[in-house]
Amino acid sequence: MTDTPKENPKAAGHVHYQGRMHALQKEIITRWYKELHGVWQRQQASNAVPLPGSGATGAVPLMISGNCVELLQAFDLLPVYPEINALQLAIRKKALEYLLKAEDMGYSTDNCGYVKADMAFYLEGAETAQGTRIPKPSLILNNFVGCNTYIKWFEHLAHFTKAPLFTLDIPFLQGEEPDAGQIKYVADQLKDLIRLLEKVSGRSFDIDRLREILKLSARSEELWSAIKMTAKNNPSPYEAFFDATTMMGPLYVSRGTPEGVRFFEEALREMEEKVRLGVGAVAKERFRVVVEAPPPYPYFKAFRDLFNTWGACSVASTYSCVGGTFEFGFRHDPRDPLNSIARHMLVHNVCNRNYIQRYDQILRYIKEWNADALIIHSVKSCRLFSAGHGDMREFFTSKGIPTLYVESDLEDPRYYSPAQMRNRFDAFFEALEHKKYSTKGAGV
């Protein structure tokens, strides 16, 4: 036998993906869960929903997409993101037991995996993946943005927890921009919400405090955008799908706080240093890809390995824009707080935008971030995110952009088939390798 002429990257095995940014993210998320646990402990002591006192005045579940966390922070209310709870369970391989419990309760196998894991988790009164507890909600904020499953999800949550429910009705964006009536419609609802938040928190609304929070949010958004822009470098210092997912926690939990700003400053410094040193997010960048839709959290690392073994770096992703399409310029505006929050919820997050806008966004990524291909990970139990992915694949293929379409789930490990998934990735990159690196007689 001869020696292997070219060691196939797929034989490289598992890789650890940990930088300073990951450690800081862990600190922020751990602290957030501890704060929630603190509220839970006070609830246990007083056997009642806590009202004014030191620290957080209570906890409010809300949806990630186009969230208005700044309003909660203005009342010292802690956000609870059921999606983060669910994905944390999935990433730690604990989702299936809750999914099965939810199905025992009567939820269909076709229901959203996040809903099932979260509802079973709440009703069990279980510990989070961090070993902490989630407090009883002071209010349930149904900031329905692009996902109507949330309406039923939070109605269930309100039914079982007996907490008050407030639904923010955000019209789905059909054209390019919302009209003035739609902005006023949302801003007026925000005023109603503020009155309710005053009641549940026991605090008076202070517009100047909200302006300060929005100022910090705008700064976090500026830094987050700058981080995304570093991925235009070759090699990209930033993995704009997997690492972006890691960074989304701080973006949603603490973007309107000094801690959030510090996190993004540190993360940007890390990326700029990598650019200076010419260090890529993957050891040897061979392919630059754009990723559409969420990752399969139960197989998060295994899925990342599929990219890494081919030297594929995600240079942009739509999923990292669920909370906001900040890289295209939107910033919360402290000078016009409520209209600015309304505009964010209506138009500057990926879920509330129409499909043509998503196509345009991906095309910009391909062009401006100089990507070789698009990878679509369609999510079985989220038809709202995934409906239309077949057409999307056809659209980008017709534009001459190599496009891989794979399907599993963001929460349910039963939908992930490791051998089949690897086969499809390998076959796709084998063809892409030929297209990009063909050498006479030796290409696959």
Partner: protein, 271 residues
């Protein structure tokens, strides 16, 4: 390069195939066996089966390429390549006019659109359901109390094909049993099964586009009734290799040869 030999190993879900190739791309030997858990023992045994009659040993093999779902499980490999890429290369080698390949194996079925030199342009596979693949035929044969090989020609004699409408292999089995108990002829039921498999395959083919010439590979391409059904539904003549189950292993061996030549060219340049 003259005396160099290479091997392609296809570790499929149902069976494992080995092809030994000479430098002039002629096939020196081939062997296959049912896939079992001991991948190393299995592939060693098959390689010996091919080498011994030729008076050769493992030392005579200069490069091994593996393919199939077990392609990562052979430590002696030099490279592993998916069966999609290998099937395309093997089919194109045998039928250079091929524009599309239908590959139906034990658990997988896939359509592959190829371009110049058999390069993969696009592919579509079954993902988590094996109802359109060979494993389904094995189950059906069991319920019909015939062999899979017998099924291959039996459906050609059908005069009144039964319709097997379920898209689920398990539910389709219930339909088959129901047809048997209702007294329908076995050949008509088998024809219904081939029609059902062909319909699933055609869905995949339409997604990638057939082009001008289809080559049918994989173990199911041994079923004459299936070939006849696919041809009838597409209205074209389909290329079928003499030994369709070996095409992916052949493709792997062809890649092995190319890689070896490229490596030796690099060595010669740097020497």
């Amino acid at each position: 390069m003259k005396d160099r030999l290479v091997a392609g190993i296809d570790l499929g879900a149902g069976s494992t195939k080995v092809v030994l190739l000479a430098a002039d791309r002629s096939v020196l030997g081939q062997a296959r066996s049912k896939t079992r858990a001991d991948f190393v023992g299995l592939t060693d045994g098959l390689l010996d089966e091919v080498l011994k009659p030729l008076g050769l040993t493992r030392r005579d093999i200069s490069y091994i390429a593996t393919t199939g779902l077990g392609r990562y499980a052979v430590p002696a490999r030099n490279i592993q390549i998916t069966e999609i890429t290998c099937g395309a290369r093997g089919a194109w080698f045998l039928f250079p006019d091929t524009t599309c390949i239908l590959d139906i194996g034990s658990q997988s079925s896939r359509a592959i659109r190829v371009g110049e030199k058999g390069r993969v342009k696009e592919f579509k596979t079954n993902e988590k359901c094996a109802s359109g693949s060979g494993g389904f035929l094995e189950k059906a044969a069991k319920y019909l109390e015939i062999t899979v090989d017998e099924m291959g020609t039996l459906s050609l004699t059908s005069s009144d094909p039964r319709e097997i409408s379920s898209v689920c292999a398990v539910l389709a089995e219930s339909e088959i049993i129901s047809n048997v108990s209702d007294g329908y002829k076995i050949e008509d039921i088998v024809r219904g099964i081939h029609d059902s498999l062909a319909d699933r395959a055609l869905t995949l083919i339409r997604r990638v586009g057939i082009g001008t010439s289809l080559t049918f590979i994989g173990g199911v391409a041994r079923q004459e009734g299936m070939i006849s059904t696919v041809q009838a539904k597409l209205g074209i003549q389909v290329n079928v290799p003499e030994e369709p189950e070996y095409v992916c292993a052949l493709g792997a061996a062809l890649f092995a040869l190319e890689r070896l030549k490229a490596a030796e060219a690099v060595s010669a340049k740097t020497a």
